[in-house]
């Protein structure tokens, strides 16, 4: 056993464990080669491409109004136009520029904040741990959307504050996951070994704990990406997201609620949300199935 003699080797083992599972080990295909994941990656890739090339690909200016209001889908306007005569296809394409990067921003910020607090809670323990965990309880005591709504409304409804609000409501999950990863590792031999070798707490955190807990955290983050898109769209639907006339999918669906007969106004942005969220969910599931054997049964 290398347990006490070589903490470095142990650490490397710990780090590779989850990478190895993603590659599929000896028994199955790598995660990124499975059919459903390929579909999800293709959809996401498509959306990313649309977002990057929105200016080139969108047939119209997403903000340009025209007298041709509520035009049904046609050869000119594939997805029709909204109440202000704006081209819905162009707005949907440009919407990808908001939703996808914002969801990434929300999740990475929440991961950063929650991860750091979780590391501190797990590693320091005692009073700090107790205080932080009660704080997560508090946040969990609200439905996410209600708390996010209150925070956004209080700070003033705009893009930045919506993102901020969603970070505030979503960091506790990461804090809990990272904390329990740290706690489960505190008893492990390689941390003790590191301590025996005189490795300081900060270095131990950075070199031992972080690489090992990052796997579960990434899985969670991927799973939460879809949720972030949904929550942001919901805030925006309620008029608490990016300010009009920004082409945001949630607010575009809200426009369609004004007149049900113009179904195309809300159907297409809704489908955009649906496909992006679904792709993120599939990706998250695939990662989780590999990394968390508890859920992988029967796959």
């Amino acid at each position: 056993m290398t347990t006490l003699a070589d903490p470095k080797a142990e650490r490397a083992l710990g780090r590779r464990r989850w990478l190895g599972r993603l590659r599929g080990g000896a028994t199955s295909r790598p995660v990124w080669r499975q059919p459903i994941t390929v579909v999800a990656l293709t959809i996401l890739g498509g959306w990313l491409l649309l977002a990057l090339l929105a200016d080139v690909l969108a047939p119209f200016d997403p903000l340009a109004q025209s007298p041709d209001a509520y035009a049904p889908p046609s050869g000119t306007h594939w997805f029709g136009t909204d109440s202000l005569g704006r081209d819905i296809l162009s707005r949907v394409v440009h919407g990808a520029r908001l939703s996808i990067p914002l969801a990434l921003a929300i999740v990475s910020l929440a991961l950063l904040v929650g991860g750091l607090l979780g590391l501190v809670a797990g590693y320091v323990g005692r009073f700090v741990d107790e205080a932080l965990m009660r704080l997560t309880d508090l946040v969990f005591a609200f439905p996410q959307i209600i708390l996010a709504m209150a925070v956004t409304a209080a700070f003033g409804p705009n893009t930045r504050n919506a993102v901020l609000a969603l970070v505030i409501v979503s960091w506790p999950v990461y804090a809990r996951v990272i904390r329990s990863a740290v706690l489960s590792m505190r008893g492990d031999d390689y941390l003790n070994a590191a301590r025996l070798l005189g490795v300081g707490p900060i270095r131990a955190l950075r070199r031992d704990v972080l690489p090992n807990s990052i796997g579960p955290a990434i899985v969670l983050a991927t799973l939460e990406l879809g949720n972030a898109v949904l929550l942001l769209a919901a805030l925006s639907f309620l008029g608490l997201g990016p300010r009009p006339p920004a082409a945001e999918w949630g607010s575009m669906v809200a426009l369609g609620a004004q007149d049900l007969s113009m179904w195309w106004v809300s159907v297409f942005p809704g489908l955009a949300i649906l496909t992006v969220v679904m792709a993120f969910n599939v990706l998250g599931d695939a990662l989780r199935d590999r990394l968390d054997p508890r859920y992988s049964k029967g796959r």
Binding site: I146, A150, A153, P157, L230, A234, G250, A254, N281
Partner: protein, 361 residues
């Protein structure tokens, strides 16, 4: 807990002898009440802090532009709501009132927050409760079916369906459902709790269907039920999607257990094994997740209520939040936190009911 040992003469399976003093259930409940009280206090601090520290000003949020230009009106508003006092004084004042059951007055509706809540909560419950019950029944059934048919077509379809449900924005699904069932098929009303030809039944529970039935006004009850149908459909499908995946993986895990194989090995018909052995064991994780499911259902309520014009807590919360109506926000927060705690308590008690290992220890 005593166990029986081999060869121990006259050894008997018994439950734990009760510890001296209080009944364990009472101790458990007392602890929970203390934790809940702490949590609720925390909720008031956070909400109070949030609304007061942030840049938004309730004065500008509530007064018209005209009134804002009149310093006397602004001062009157501040004085009326105690906004001229220091923050800690405001908070202590609020807490004092809270202990007397006074949640303050909503700046928006001008009514007591408690009255507002008593008006809006039953409307939300009338949506949430049937959705939850339906979702639990359907979700457990479908999840179990998928687990038993693991890997086959039924299972694949269920999994794709659940994925779709989880990825659908609730507000968009509400619109789609409205478009199909109201606009195209005309099968259900578009929103609200009652048609205009009816007046609400005499209040008993505040839930129109039940109150109307109690009063024997069957036409009103039917109308109220029709108004419930679409929002309940949306909330149920979203919650089912969430439940199905948990139920499926929980049941799959149970299906791998030796005691399920043992039940088959006894020659029991499949139906009995599934209904008695599988369902019983699979219910424990289902109960766990149902707390979570109820939380997500309440989140969905906010959006669904706003689309179906349903005068419930979700709408009230939305309007209070956008108006920075502090007493109302606090009231809603306390209510929501209380509901969450109650749900978790119910979940814990249900555990004991289902699993004898917990009940007896």
């Amino acid at each position: 807990m005593t166990t029986v040992h081999d060869g121990e003469p006259g050894a008997v399976a018994t439950t734990a002898s009760r510890p001296r003093g209080a009944h364990p259930l009472l101790t458990f409940l007392a602890k929970r009440v203390a934790v809940t009280a702490g949590l609720l206090l925390g909720v008031t601090v956070v909400t109070f802090g949030l609304v007061n520290v942030v840049p938004g000003d309730p004065v500008t949020a509530n007064l018209s532009d005209q009134a804002l230009n009149d310093p006397a009106a602004v001062a009157a508003f501040r004085e009326k709501w105690g906004l001229d006092q220091p923050l800690w004084a405001q908070y202590l004042h609020y807490l004092g009132n809270l202990l007397h059951g006074d949640l303050g007055h909503s700046q928006q509706t001008g009514r007591a927050v408690l009255d507002d809540l008593l008006h809006y909560v039953p409307a939300t419950l009338e949506l949430a409760l049937p959705s939850m019950v339906l979702a639990l029944l359907i979700g457990t059934g479908i999840g179990m079916l998928a687990a038993v048919r693991n890997g086959r077509l039924t299972d694949q379809l269920v999994r794709v369906g659940a994925l779709l449900g989880l990825s659908t924005p609730p507000f968009w699904l509400s619109l789609v459902v409205l478009y199909v069932f109201f606009y195209q098929l005309g099968l259900a009303p578009s929103g609200g709790r009652l048609s205009t030809d009816f007046s609400p039944p005499p209040t008993v529970t505040g839930m129109y269907t039940i109150d109307a039935a109690l009063a024997g006004q069957w036409d009103v009850a039917w109308d109220a039920a029709q108004h419930l149908s679409l929002p309940v459909l949306v909330l149920t499908s979203l919650t089912v999607a969430m439940l199905v995946r948990f139920v499926r993986s929980a049941m799959l895990e149970v299906l791998q257990q030796d005691y399920i194989r043992a039940a088959y090995a006894k020659g029991l018909p499949t139906r009995v094994v599934l209904r008695r052995h599988l369902l019983r064991a699979g219910l424990v994780p289902v109960v766990t997740v149902s707390g979570l499911a109820f939380a997500s259902l309440l989140s969905g309520t906010v959006l669904v209520e706003s689309i179906f014009g349903w005068p419930g807590v979700g709408q009230y919360a939305y309007r209070s939040a956008t108006a920075l109506d502090l007493p109302a926000i606090l009231g809603v927060s306390l209510f929501v936190a209380l509901v969450y705690t109650l749900v978790n308590l119910t979940v814990d008690l249900l555990y004991g009911l289902i699993d004898p290992r917990i009940r007896l220890s």
